[in-house]
């Protein structure tokens, strides 16, 4: 068993944005008290002692945590390479400077679209102009400018103008990440899933841009949607292989979406240390290695390449978290993915449900505080 090289610290589920493709749990308002600073500091130390090197600060919007600079400084002192994954909302020039001073290594700013109108509609808040300003601020403070656009049916036709915007901002990296259907994105998948025609056009637009700007220094990452593939993604590079997430309320998970899986009691950092969690907990051992696999994975010669795909996707589509990810062409339930794509082709008029406390309570039927 290797170390948990990647630790993702989801500091809060609170967020000023309301993106309908958010990967946070749909019932986020019902989830308990956030870890305090001391608890986070302990988690950082314990994971570092296990050999964690990459640290992501995410959320929700991690800038909402007033102790972010404290956590960043500790991370730097411990020898982590720390990454901030942010919408840019809650940031200003002084805060970028403070984070830099504290030792933050890297910032990724997300955009919802390339036009203010669509960006602000999808985000549920007038944030586009501020995001432009923050992208520039990041660069001004000596960081590479790294932009991320999450792509779905409502904005996929802007792919070319997203790349143009990034080039105009002199971005160093731009990531076009097709929506993965977890959390709110799963609820909204009927409205978010691009059609095959849209996907082909977007890929062509990306390639065209690459050819026209072959000498440009900006690097483009186009993350293809796995629903349109014939083999599953090597999700998390294998369950409990190198990735651990700690949620705002202290749950330790082998992936962002795992808390929805039934019948697994995931450990909480309030009750166990990271060494126990990583090595001994049922949650991290459940799908570790290959012994849990069913056919066709068990005897498949590609199992060491894709680890059977994504456990959450298997659960959401087939109702069995130990099944072969139905994205795989070898899965006996592969038709379930085709059904999802066919639904997208119908372009059902499904209204988008924005991620906010009101909709969270409506969907989960649970009481909760505003967040």
């Amino acid at each position: 068993m290797g170390p948990p090289l990647w630790l993702l610290a989801e500091l809060t589920y609170k967020c000023p944005l309301q993106c309908p493709y958010c990967s946070n749990p749909v019932d986020y308002t019902a989830i308990g008290r956030e870890l305090d600073s001391d608890e986070w500091l302990r988690v950082l130390r314990e994971a570092r002692a296990l050999g964690a090197t990459q640290l992501g600060f995410s959320g929700g919007e991690p800038l909402l945590r007033r102790d972010l600079e404290t956590l960043v400084a500790e991370a730097r002192g411990l020898g982590y390479y720390s990454n901030l994954i942010t919408s840019g909302v809650g940031m200003d020039d002084a805060r970028v400077a403070a984070l830099r001073e504290a030792g933050l290594d890297h910032i990724q700013v997300s955009f919802q679209a390339s036009s203010a109108e669509l960006n602000d509609w999808l985000a549920g808040t007038a944030s586009f102009a501020h995001k432009l300003e923050m992208a520039r601020a990041v660069k001004r403070h000596g960081y590479p400018m790294v932009l991320c656009f999450v792509i779905h049916r409502e904005n996929i036709e802007q792919v070319e103008s997203m790349l143009e915007l990034a080039a105009q901002l002199e971005a160093d990296y731009v990531e076009l990440a097709t929506t993965q259907y977890y959390g709110w994105a799963w609820v909204n998948r009927g409205a978010l899933m691009p059609t095959r025609e849209q996907l082909v056009a977007a890929e062509q637009a990306t390639n065209r841009f690459r050819e026209q700007h072959a000498s440009a220094r900006m690097k483009i990452y186009y993350v293809v949607p796995d629903y349109a593939e014939d083999r599953p993604k090597p999700c998390m590079n294998g369950w409990g292989s190198l990735f651990a997430v700690v949620t705002p309320d202290g749950l330790a998970l082998p992936c962002h979406a795992a808390r929805q899986l039934p019948g697994i009691e995931f450990p909480n950092v309030r009750e166990h240390d990271m060494a126990h969690i990583w090595r001994d907990s049922d949650g991290f051992n459940r799908f570790r290695g290959f012994d849990w696999m069913q056919e066709p994975c068990r005897s498949c010669d590609e199992k060491e390449k894709d680890f059977g795909g994504c456990r959450c996707q298997a659960w959401m589509l087939t109702g069995d978290a130990a099944a072969t990810d139905p994205v795989c062409g070898k899965s006996p339930r592969h038709e379930l993915v085709d059904e999802q794509l066919l639904r997208a082709a119908d372009v059902l008029e499904q209204p988008l449900l924005f991620r906010n406390p009101k909709n969270a309570r409506r969907l989960s039927g649970a009481p909760g505080e505003d967040g």
Partner: protein, 93 residues
Amino acid sequence: MSAALQMADRPALAPGYRFQWEAAQQAHVLLYPEGMVTLSGSAGEILKRCDGERSVEQICVDLEIAFPGADLRGDVLEFIADARDRGWLRVDG
């Protein structure tokens, strides 16, 4: 990208890269945004000396003193040129 390396060049880690010893892996590593390379012993010894102060010539001499008897000049030059082409090192004359 692949201009010939000069002995007077002074290689330094590129911005955004961090070089450190990892006890858990018993190896030097190179950290960068969302990634890590675990370095071999010899790669670690070379990168350790790429501090922007020492020239390629000085790095070679340093290594020859640290590891006497080894004929390593060719490998060192090849590694530094390769690390530069991968974007790990920035080379200023």
